[in-house]
Symmetry: C2
Subunit: 160 residues, 2 copies
């Protein structure tokens, strides 16, 4: 999406930051793999294909920057890596209510789903606990279609 890239360049300029080839490459890498939830290392490997000289430290610095600019979202699956993805909602929409994640406990794949059924809950909390909710994160753990089918198959074959 060149739109997104133009927006990125503008955001950088507006913040007095420079538009460098590395920054563009990293954004492109993330854009080319939507819903992929890449780790810093994966982004690094991906970017190196086109920019072999890039350093891992630059990747870390840039994703931190992108996250601060709300251009990408951080995601922690609890596996020791911090992951990143292009912001689904975009900076123009209400960024506080976005998508959530379905994490397969077997293969580790991550699906996303839209939907915001938490507003009622948040309102209740706001009233009951006087806690002002500004963001939320929902992770659902389970088994994806593929793994379920494989498991059923295995079950039929081995009976365990």
């Amino acid at each position: 999406m060149p739109d997104n890239q133009e927006r990125f360049k503008n955001v950088l300029k507006q913040n007095g930051l420079k538009v460098t080839t590395q920054r563009i490459s990293i954004l492109e890498a993330l854009e080319s793999r939507p819903d992929k939830h890449l780790t810093a290392e994966e982004i690094y490997e991906c970017v190196k294909e086109n920019s072999p000289d890039i350093g891992l430290a630059t990747v870390y610095r840039t994703i931190q920057l992108l996250a601060e600019l709300n251009l990408i979202d951080k995601l922690n699956l609890g596996d020791g890596y911090v992951r990143y993805e292009i912001g689904h909602s975009g900076a123009n929409e209400d960024s506080t209510h976005h998508h959530h994640h379905l994490i397969c406990l077997n293969c580790g794949s991550v699906l996303t789903f839209q939907g915001d059924l938490l507003e009622a809950l948040e309102e209740r909390i706001q009233n009951a606990l006087e806690f002002e909710v500004v963001d939320h994160e929902v992770k659902l753990f389970g088994y994806c279609k593929e793994c379920r089918e494989a498991r059923i198959e295995k079950h039929n074959n081995t009976n365990c």
Copy 2:
């Protein structure tokens, strides 16, 4: 709760594991601070008061064990530490639907709340995406009562 401790000892024995003073101490430390979401280091400091010779490695090994035995829950607030707390639901209840967390973005305090408004959502996902949900994790980020009041006060004083 001596009940919990008895249960713990039984669980250990049933799994062919030994009941050691270190393991008991660590469980006690976690029990004495419900809703506190301690890091390994904090547990270590806490246990050292009564067992000065304990090693940090033992704490790590034990909390890992306790988590595997479902006696404690892991919690990741995204601040670089893994935290642990005594399982609220206990092993006798339905352990898949427990409590959730309210994390203050200002002071870092963590409140918990019960309630499970996600069942409808999970059912919908189960049907639509053929993803079998077995557990979920909900984190709400915002500002606790104390910080809100402090913020309002500051606002009134400094006008910013």
